[in-house]
């Protein structure tokens, strides 16, 4: 692993090749907000909240810092008018679905996002995919998956798997930033578990 020196917010930061800009920034104590990122999971790049400006050989582009690999002489700006505007809009778009989620509210305050900007459509899930990826990558069970596509995409427990695997696990629950996950679980349990599971329902 060779050492790479890059510049983040005017500071020289040392990183190892193969690291992402987000990791390099965090290592240097520079905070970049994230929603779909978790250090034990593969980088995902879906929420785009960690978007930063990356300048390479005089050309600036907007990139997701959780995926962008560090490179020599890279100049990163984690805050700028453009970056802040993107983060504000992303938060506003998500607040239409989960207006009371604590994590979103904190960030909304920082970026001046208006939770009433878009008409409420309380589906509560912000599609961060932490539950889906945790179940697939760590537990290797795939008991919860994304179903459908486009604007209809949503998380769904797969009853056949969930009715066997989820009783004693529920490790994804604390990962959910909005509690939509728990609701999805309860719904699946009520609708489908009893017909699928031969095991008695354990006392909760």
């Amino acid at each position: 692993m060779s050492e790479i020196i890059l510049q983040i917010d005017g500071r020289e930061v040392a990183a190892e090749s193969g690291m992402t800009v987000l990791e390099a920034a965090q290592g240097a104590g520079i905070s970049i907000p994230t929603l779909c990122h978790h250090e034990i999971l593969e980088p995902y790049g879906a929420c785009r909240l960690c978007t930063v400006e990356a300048e390479v050989r005089g050309r600036t582009k907007l990139v997701a810092s959780c995926l962008y690999p560090v490179e020599k002489d890279l100049i990163v700006r984690t805050r700028s008018e453009k970056v802040d505007k993107i983060r504000k809009m992303i938060l506003e778009l998500l607040l239409a679905h989960a207006p009371e989620a604590r994590e979103l509210q904190g960030l909304a305050q920082e970026y001046g996002a208006d939770k009433n900007r878009f008409e409420k459509e309380p589906s509560f899930c912000i599609h961060c995919g932490l539950c889906v990826r945790y179940c697939a990558e760590v537990k290797k069970k795939h008991a919860i998956e994304f179903v459908d596509k486009g604007t209809k995409r949503e998380i769904s427990f797969i009853p056949e798997i969930a009715s066997k695997e989820c009783w004693n696990c529920k490790e994804c629950f604390p990962l959910c930033p909005t509690e939509a996950l728990q609701a999805a679980f309860v719904l699946t349990k009520e609708l489908a578990f009893f017909s699928l599971s031969s095991e008695p329902v354990p006392a909760e």
Partner: protein, 564 residues
């Protein structure tokens, strides 16, 4: 058929095939393209077979079900060789008369030939019909001459001679140099130089490399790749094998849609025939070069035509794009260097090798070379596939080949590139077909799907329609794309419903800006394009909907057809 083990054997075989062809024997070529299929060409083909049996002409007349002839508006199309008499809109009832009068009696049936709707002038031959006249059908022109299910037909028109030349008379560096000098630009929409892409994959570290034909073609209004690939699959395959040889790849993939059975069948036949003849597989033509091709089908989602999503799909995963901070040319399928080009790009390769880069780059404009296939649709007299040199003006395409706007309506706009493209107004139709010129105007040549819109089209509705399409076809993974589409679609629906508010246009622009800059993949980043081009050229229509509650095109029902 024994496999071919050398160029000499290939030429020997070609001679044999050509010697069997009787130039004076009548041949009935019936278009079996997708549009003609929809217009009932299978009944026409059966009627010909039956009538030939009935008149005991089996040994005297040949029948050929061919690839798309391009003039979809007037299908089913039948061409009678050797005179090349072209009949349009043929029905099974016409068949006995065609056999008796034309095939046997050598007489032209007047009512079946092309009649110019404006001048009343008649055209007996395909090349005299205004739609075909002056096209440069370098890629698609062979479709009427071949049965796509027969490799012999392709060999008869010189097929695989470019492959033989590349393998035996050139080394990979020379082929690459030729493609670079020809300045072949990707026909999938990006217009990226194919040679540079090939070179990146060729030079990327790793022994295993892949080449891929993107035959996904999912946007509404695009049908040229399907016409070309279904009608002449060996042309694309030959280009792919040459590319593989150049790049140093031994495994290729053809990625296409699960819902185009005719295309799939023709590809499968072409692959198995090419293999049988020793043009695919081990030791191609005795050159020592090995190359195999596998066909992969999509899972029915538009975004799987996006290159990184397509590669995930080939790996057997959900077709979700990934950001290309490392190019797929370097890290693609299973993180191996993977060169993706679309159908038309690969199809250009054999002619560049056969005729040289100098010849190729003499066609087109300074920076856009060769010919381009255009899917012409919308409010146009002649819907179909047109092939013209780059640089041809949009006006020529619309009026000379497309026959103008039907029903005496006025032309309003030309939209390129489907739901991720852009519209330009009638005032700009003198613009040439050129990647860079169109992109500067805020549209993009895209894959070549050209939608013609007349005065009755509401430009708010067109943008709403595209976003509605994308709301179901984006993968939905990243926030800007999924949520941006949701909100933009809501606002546009409100505007067309007469519920537009002050500030809506500015809000649309703000969301579009964020989606265009922050979305994960090229699909997401292109989502706002149609809307932004329309706000640039047709802003007054948006304002009329919002401020005056009026739809200038008298399209939006809720706005009481402009009475208010």
């Amino acid at each position: 058929m024994a496999r071919i083990n050398s160029v000499a054997e290939l030429e020997e075989l070609r001679k044999g095939i050509l010697s069997k062809i009787e130039p004076d024997k009548p041949c009935i070529a019936i278009c079996a393209g997708i549009a003609c299929l929809g217009l009932g060409n299978d009944r026409v083909i059966s009627a010909f077979e039956e009538e030939i049996r009935k008149q005991s002409l089996e040994t005297k007349v040949d029948i050929r079900a061919t690839g798309c002839h391009g003039f979809c508006e007037k299908g089913p199309i039948v061409v009678i060789y050797p005179e090349e008499i072209c009949y349009l809109e043929v029905t099974p009832e016409d068949v006995p008369e065609i056999i008796t009068q034309t095939v046997v009696g050598k007489k032209v049936i007047d009512r079946l030939i092309y009649t110019d709707p404006n001048t009343g002038a008649k055209a007996v031959h395909q090349f005299e019909i205004p739609f075909y006249k002056n096209q440069s059908r370098l890629l698609i022109g062979n479709n009427p001459k071949i049965n796509p299910k027969s490799i012999e037909d392709y060999l008869a028109i010189g097929g695989y001679s470019a492959l033989a030349k590349a393998l035996f008379a050139m080394n990979p560096e020379q082929v690459l140099e030729e493609i670079k000098k020809a300045n072949l630009r990707g026909r999938g929409g990006g217009g990226f130089p194919a040679g540079s892409k090939w070179e990146t994959t060729r030079n990327a570290p790793g022994e295993e490399k892949y080449v891929i034909v993107n035959a996904h073609e999912g946007e509404p209004g695009a049908f040229m790749d399907r016409a070309l690939f279904t009608g002449n699959p060996h042309l694309v395959l030959e280009g792919l094998i040459i590319g593989a040889y150049t790049i140093g790849s031994h495994q290729g993939f053809i990625y296409t849609r699960h819902d185009t059975p005719q295309l799939r069948e023709n590809i499968d036949i072409a692959l198995s025939e090419a293999k049988e003849y020793g043009l695919l597989g081990k030791n191609i033509l005795g050159s020592g070069f090995n190359f195999n091709v596998e066909v992969h089908l999509d899972v029915g989602i538009f975004v799987s035509g996006e290159s990184s999503a397509l590669m995930r799909s080939i790996e057997g995963k959900a077709p979700e794009p990934r950001p290309k901070y490392i190019r797929t040319s370097v890290s693609g399928i299973w993180n191996k260097p993977s060169n993706l080009n679309n159908v038309e790009t690969w199809a250009n390769v054999p002619q560049i090798i056969n005729n040289g880069s100098k010849w190729y780059s003499s066609i087109g404009t300074e920076r856009s070379k060769g010919t381009k296939l255009i899917s012409l649709s919308g409010n146009i007299c002649n819907t179909g596939v047109v092939e013209v040199p780059m640089g041809t003006s949009l006006k020529e395409i619309i009026y000379n080949f497309g026959g103008g706007i039907p029903n005496g309506k006025k032309l309003k706009a030309v939209h390129f590139g489907g739901p991720m493209g852009g519209s330009i107004p009638e005032s700009l139709i003198d613009s040439p077909l050129d990647f860079d010129v169109l992109s500067k105007l805020g549209t993009s040549l895209g894959a070549g799907d050209m939608l013609v819109l007349d005065e009755d089209n509401c430009m708010v509705e067109v943008a709403r329609y595209f976003l509605d399409f994308l709301s179901g076809e984006s993968c939905g993974k990243c926030v800007p794309c999924r949520e941006g589409i949701r909100q933009m679609l809501k606002i546009l629906t409100d505007i067309t419903d007469g519920k537009g508010k002050e500030g809506d246009i500015e809000l649309l622009e703000e969301i579009a800006g964020v989606v265009g800059e922050a979305a994960l993949c090229s699909l997401g980043r292109s989502v706002p394009k149609p809307l932004l081009s329309m706000l640039k050229y047709f802003r007054d229509e948006y304002e009329a909907h919002i401020k005056d509650k009026r739809c200038p095109a008298l399209f939006c029902k809720e706005l009481k057809k402009g009475e208010l």
